[in-house]
Symmetry: C2
Subunit: 335 residues, 2 copies
């Protein structure tokens, strides 16, 4: 098992490509109006469809009842971007079907009955979509999704109506952030149906200069066109960030990057917030060739040193103990 | 030639021991009332006494006319603690006699006609005094010093009257400083005839938690007793600092030390002020065994990265260029 964040590719701006398809079962109330019994029934129907099938999914996707997952591990899954914060916060009677490498995760009982998520490192939207679509087709044949000829897939929230597709890319934009151009970009893309969000999606803050760019429009546009448009805008934003990086090149930037590296390599106590800022700087430094370390390390540190990821490894820790373990983990990773 | 700051001994609190004897020639006006011609005559008389003698001093002490020393090198000598700031600031018609390792420096034309200075690393007051006394005796035989049977040696400023001796130790007191106990100590020692000053003597500020402790009383006390008392107080202050260090031992202090080390090892731009603070932390870390580097390095960095010391090596530099060269020099020294 090797998660996305251990396979960060050479591209220094784009971190991940994510596809999410929202689906609901026909003849069953939407999420907010479900009884506990109905929730369990949905879990069981989806589990059966996958695990009792004669397809490779029966082997590659493992069913996990979220009631059996300790709260801590649940938040650690959120920190790895496998499940959404909303899903983690209220895991009762929810379930997932997840692949070994965690790149595929079917959430059962999120806002919609089913959310198929495929997460790949780097710019890989079409490949991720192909995988999601195959699972969608397979599940659709078995389960009878709520679908209207006129509107497309029916969803709990009207913003997902139609394709039920949310395609998003996570981007590292330290220069667009420090020059404050990111807000102007967020404004303009919102006018053409895209959103810029923080790293944990809706209403989350940006940390480590990481931003998620995703499509907003799910009605009246094909999935392929939505992906093509997202890719085109992503490429433009990447170009803008890279061009700002070249302008900023010089000893002042090198100083910032190298100081961040020096602190990460030596500190004995690091808060989560400081870690995010420092990792953002070294990620920039790796991308610009200012420091020469394994280019998967910044994202590994960023994910593996989140509070619940640390406690998953070292057991229960108070805030101070976490800051100490975080510093220790970072030193080990950077050695 | 190997200066004091390259030979810092294992003791982690005491940096240097310094002896200074103030002497004036009989029958010649004191410093402030001297004409240029008289100043030159004094230089020549002292030079002759040493350089034309049949003693080892003729070989070991080199005469330097300060008019021949570029202003920059003059300030670099001050930064190495070889001459006083006052001497450096107005070097016209002044001269020195200096040993190869710069541990002996006879200043001619300071506040007093002659100031014999011996500077050793570590706690070495008696040995330093013996050397200064031998030069004093030799010069006294040749030059006829202004001396009163009742008062002792006559000096420009009454605070030096009597023995003309200023004995001082430079101490690294980061814990006494951070706990603010240093001001209480300065107050109490002043009541028993001692002074705590910044690193460049009178009215200079403390930098890098370095303080000079010296005797104030030169009348009615023998040289040996003055040294003995200074040594006793020094030992008490050292014990207090070391005991505070043990109390402070822990991950929070380690974090500060290691961060300072990480920044020094990696930064690309460092101001003189930041360097002083960081070096103070790593010096503390070396002393407490938190970081394991050559224990002479903190003082070498501190002295060799002073502004004029850098320009002595790399030629004229503006403030920004100095900050870059300083960072580079530190990285090289720490490698």
């Amino acid at each position: 098992m090797s998660s996305w964040y251990t396979q960060c590719d050479n591209n220094d701006v784009i971190i991940t490509s994510r596809i999410r398809l929202a689906r609901n079962l026909s003849g069953v109330p939407f999420g907010t109006r479900l009884t506990d019994e109905q929730k369990k029934q949905i879990n069981e129907r989806v589990r059966e469809a996958i695990c009792d099938s004669n397809t490779p999914y029966a082997k590659t996707l493992k069913y996990i009842d979220m009631n059996d997952v300790p709260e801590n591990e649940c938040y650690a899954m959120m920190e790895r971007h496998i499940i959404s914060p909303e899903f983690a916060q209220n895991k009762e009677n929810k379930a997932i079907l997840i692949s070994d490498d965690e790149s595929i995760c079917v959430m059962i009982g999120e806002e919609d009955h089913i959310r198929i998520q495929v997460l790949h490192s780097g710019l890989d939207l079409h490949k991720a979509y192909d995988i999601a679509e195959r699972i969608d087709t397979f599940l659709g044949e078995k389960l009878n999704f709520a679908f209207s000829e006129k509107l497309g897939y029916l969803t709990e929230c009207p913003t997902n109506l139609g394709t039920g597709l949310r395609a998003s890319v996570m981007l590292h934009l330290p220069l667009l952030e420090s020059t404050r151009e990111i807000s102007a970009i967020a404004d303009s893309v919102s006018k053409i149906g895209f959103t810029v969000r923080g790293i944990y999606g809706e209403s989350s803050e940006s940390q480590a200069s990481l931003y998620q760019l995703s499509n907003q429009i799910t009605l009246g546009i094909s999935e392929k066109d939505a992906l093509k448009n997202l890719e085109a805008i992503t490429t433009q934003i990447i170009d803008k960030e890279l061009s700002l990086r070249e302008t900023a090149r010089g000893v002042a930037l090198e100083d910032k990057v190298c100081r961040a590296y020096g602190i990460l390599k030596n500190a004995r106590i690091i808060s989560s917030k400081e870690m995010m800022n420092l990792v953002s700087m070294i990620k920039l430094g790796v991308g610009m060739g200012i420091i020469n370390i394994d280019n998967t390390l910044p994202m590994r540190i960023l994910i593996e040193c989140q509070p619940n990821m640390l406690m998953r490894k070292y057991g229960s820790l108070d805030a101070h103990e976490r800051d100490v373990k975080r510093a220790q983990t970072i030193r080990t990773l950077l050695e």
